[in-house]
């Protein structure tokens, strides 16, 4: 496998980074990087770290990072994850107020501990912390319950003071969304599977409305809704597909859609194959809507989606 850390890769311009990933020869990993500047979203680092966990250390080759901003990778814990000595000499700052380093979460207890420790690191007010805890909890639990990923979830987050945005990346090298969804549904490709997973009330564990006792199939819809209402990016990459929610125009009336096709988005169905799922979310603290107001919108949209699916299953009277 080959992966290149570019000059810039955030959710808005992440497509070339994903397209450049070479998933062949899974037994080895070669990491190269821009020589002048590396400025990337935490989901990018989580993807590199996750790849590193699936390859023997002796088969990881990482070129010497010479970019001036390379110390960012060191501080985010990437080289520790890859068990590589970067040779960088930096003063370790207290991470408070800036970032949550790459963290591997394999159990429910580790997730609970991570959620408790993460918010103080980011120094967030309660109204900002609420959606972020929500997003991380739901996404990581998805990995732990459905992904069948031996390495669990790799999580990282960073606060960018300049644009007051929290960027979150959660990645696994598990079975991917299509495999999970198709336990109960019949998605013909990865993109269709991602879109099904984004619809409220759709879960891979059952086709029954209301889900099972443990799964309702609402988690990803909630997260997409949080990103949409707050005018932020949200990206899911699984298999060879990517769905990216684009920023909503501020002037338009807020309207949640159960069907992800109706949201302003971009999609790809021809990317290099990613075993597992990578999710990136941005939460802009300037535009964070009250979480409770968002829940009213979710309630109405969810309810309408369930009713519509029921209507679609109605049998019609046959008149001859």
């Amino acid at each position: 496998m080959k992966i290149y850390l570019p000059h810039s890769a955030f959710l808005g311009n992440i497509d070339p980074f994903l397209a450049a990933f070479d998933p062949s020869h899974k037994e080895k990993l070669e990491i190269t990087a821009n020589k002048n500047w590396i400025f990337v979203h935490p989901v990018v680092l989580a993807m590199v770290a996750a790849l590193g966990l699936t390859v023997y250390r002796k088969n990881i080759k990482c070129e010497k990072i010479v970019a001036r901003s390379g110390h960012y990778l060191e501080r985010m814990g990437l080289f520790k994850f890859l068990d590589i000595k970067s040779g960088m000499k930096i003063t370790e700052h207290d991470p408070s107020g800036r970032f949550v380093p790459l963290t591997q979460i394999k159990t429910s207890e580790q997730l609970t501990k991570f959620l408790t420790e993460m918010i103080p690191l980011l120094h967030l007010e309660p109204r900002h912390a609420e959606p972020i805890k929500y997003i991380i909890s739901e996404l990581v639990r998805n990995v732990l319950e459905h992904a069948r990923a031996p390495q669990g979830a790799i999580v990282s987050a960073q606060y960018h003071a300049k644009n007051k945005t929290i960027r979150i990346g959660i990645v696994d090298r598990g079975s991917g969304i299509k495999s999970t969804i198709n336990q109960s549904w019949d998605a013909s490709n990865d993109l269709e599977a991602i879109k099904l997973a984004l619809m409220p009330g759709v879960t891979g564990t059952t086709k029954r409305e209301g889900g099972t006792e443990q799964n309702a199939g609402a988690g990803l819809f909630f997260i997409k809704s949080i990103a949409y209402v707050n005018r932020n990016f949200f990206m899911i990459y699984s298999g060879n597909a990517m769905y990216k929610l684009l920023k909503r125009s501020g002037a338009k009336k807020i309207m949640l859609h159960a069907n992800p096709n109706l949201d302003r988005h971009s999609e790809r169905n021809n990317l290099p194959y990613w075993d597992g799922t990578a999710v990136g979310v941005d939460i802009s603290l300037d535009t964070t809507q009250e979480f409770t107001a968002l829940l009213d919108l979710i309630r109405d949209t969810y309810s309408e989606a369930v009713k519509e699916r029921k209507r679609n299953r109605y049998k019609r009277a046959k008149f001859i």
Partner: protein, 95 residues
């Protein structure tokens, strides 16, 4: 009437679905089976997730039907928690 205090079990952010399942299986369902009402006390809890609430009550509603909401009461819920519970209660009655 059985009152279940959730904070000592789940902490300030109620998100652990495994614990929710245990509460449902070991406390809520046996109390209802004995004909008792159940009070779920959220005092001390700042927030929760839809997944947690689903794991806590969806199967109860499926087993006993909507009428169980006369015997299942939610106490000391913040506005956010009330709304998340309402979403789950709504969609469980629509399915």
């Amino acid at each position: 009437m059985v009152t279940i205090e959730l904070f000592p079990l789940v902490g300030g952010f109620a998100e652990n679905k495994d614990i929710a399942r245990d509460i449902r299986r070991d406390q809520i369902l046996p109390a209802l089976k004995n004909g008792e009402s159940v009070v779920l006390d959220f005092s001390g809890i700042e927030s929760t997730t839809q997944s947690f609430v689903h794991s806590l009550i969806s199967d109860v509603m499926r087993e006993y039907g909507s009428d169980v909401m006369d015997k299942l009461v939610f106490k000391n819920c913040s506005e956010t928690i009330q709304k998340i519970i309402s979403i789950v209660v709504d969609y469980m009655q629509q399915t």
